[in-house]
Symmetry: D3
Subunit: 143 residues, 6 copies
């Protein structure tokens, strides 16, 4: 299958990247403290504007300390959100990548199981609430 | 909200429809044995080709008796599939429409609850299987 | 619209519920420390088995303290997962319900904004990773 | 790819499972009348509470005869719902598993084709109804 | 993995197809100007009615010139819609197939990157708008 | 329903916005050439960082002429992608907003119908390809 995939959009090679792409590749490795550029960034580098837009957004939201952005969530919770969304969408690459990242931040296998169980539970209740066309409960407003 | 919606795509009026659209409107009422044209068909009639493509497909698959098509499922099971898909996608109009249709075919409220519970269950297990990136089981082939 | 919806599946009335349904309704109010039974539970009570299955699962996973279940996540993180999944699926009722619950647990409006921004970010990257058919990075296994 | 996956969450080995996990593994094999524990259950067994919650729900809803639960649907229809949901979500493992299960219950290849065609049809009409923001039809209530 | 998959639904062999299936296979090759029948059509040919329904719809909408259907979009835009939908749903086969088709129609790798970036952007804003339960803006109707 | 919604996250009032939020509100009106700030931006302004991240991304990708970004797609095609994604996700607010925007750019009602029909078609074929677990076709690589 890899031949077919490679045929449509090849990875940008880190060694030969130049200009803005090379700068962002270096920033990704430094910000994430890793020694390689993940496939995701090497593929979207096909369109340098896209690489810049996505990296700028992700850096602000997932690496606030590197962008002097105030964050009200801790790094592990941010990765938990990534896992919950990726499991819901069934995105293989993203689940693989964020599961690994969350475990590096100390999420145990048992805790990962709890995250996925809760994400699964709400995928169930979401389809029930939609399937029954349930109207929101009327509640006093939060002040 | 209805004003805003009506602004983008108005319903085609049954009384003034002509040509192919009028013919399909009549066929919908006769095939489904109802005395009005549901909103769905009146909206997609904005583009007559689209109306024809969608109606032709739906008539073949959901009303096989009217198109001399062989079907291996009974009408209630076909509506159950419609409900399961629509609950999974959270499509309000479709849930409303197919819940009504299934109940007309004798699906009780309790049985509808069972359909939605099972659909909910698999929305849960789907996100679990995806979230854990589980490889299919190796099994002997069915003959 | 509410008339049409009410036509398909009416809410089970708390005042007249009996047997297992009445017991679960009481348990919901006590476990969640609220003085009404939310629409969600009143609708799925149409099928008492379904009510029991869903409530048992949700009680175990979202109210572990009430079921002597060990949990490795705090209550706010559990609600954050619920919000991330519900925003991804676009489930109106669930977003409304879990946003309210998370705010009761101290999630500020700004922090809710961060949760939704991060959930949005990964809905973007999920579709990019899928759209480019990116293969997972090869990495040394976590021990 | 399997190395990378195995790195994040390894399968629980049936031979060495103990306690509650071993009991549930045995129950799965007996209830489903199979001689191995499918990958799905071996992975979620990483978190024994999760295993118990998911198995309890699935056993009630999909194997009512084993839990003295009343069911209003036949086993084949239940598997058809599983297939329709899994095809809509694009869950590879689940499609593989439930297609196999439905075929064991006598669903022919042709009938599977009809199930998937109808599921596909409603994935089309769902996006049309949502894309046009169609309001539900006003109808007289079902008694 | 291919053995397991092949076990559930085998491809219909082009060389041995007869009757309506053989006619449609020939029409697919001619209409699409390719010298093989893609896997998609060979699988759904398991149920000839399904093959006919899906091919008839796709031919009308994606090959209007071959069906004397008026189209208001150009072929490249039609493939761009296919890519945007397939990336959103994470359908591997479809992304592969439509990316290839769009590139044959002259979509460059950079432009494909822009399509996927914009599709990703709206997957982000969709979950934000749903997550915040935002009401549509009230606007003067378009005439 | 609006009371309940308003209770969770109120809109930021354009008249009283200050600092970065006021600047972005002004930029939105100027870039989009509209005389009001749409609900979407007023809600996500609850978290100013989020507002900035999302607006910066959307401005680059959807208003390249205002950011000296090279674009390989025309404005109408960009809105068509937005509609296709939003219809697939069933996002009400986004469909409403982008349908209006596309019509302002000259997309006729009939052409909108064609966009939605094609998006619907691929939601159907996506679920079929996933439902049958179809392997990508092996093809010679594009040079």
């Amino acid at each position: 299958m890899s031949d077919t995939r490679a045929a449509t959009v090849p990875l940008v090679d880190e060694a030969t990247a130049i200009g803005k792409v090379a700068e962002i590749f270096a920033d990704i490795k430094q910000t994430k403290n890793i020694d390689f550029v993940p496939h995701f960034w090497r593929v979207i580098a096909t369109n340098p504007t896209q690489l810049e837009v996505v990296w700028t957004s992700l850096k602000r939201l997932m690496h606030p300390e590197a962008t002097k952005t105030e964050s009200l969530l801790d790094p592990r919770t941010r990765e938990i959100i990534a896992i919950a969304v990726s499991a819901t969408n069934g995105c293989n690459y993203c689940i693989n990548s964020h599961t690994t990242a969350a475990m590096k931040l100390g999420l145990s296998r048992e805790a990962l199981g709890e995250v996925l169980a809760i994400a699964g539970l709400f995928n169930m209740t979401n389809s029930l609430a939609d399937g029954y066309q349930i109207e929101p409960d009327v509640r006093p407003p939060l002040e």
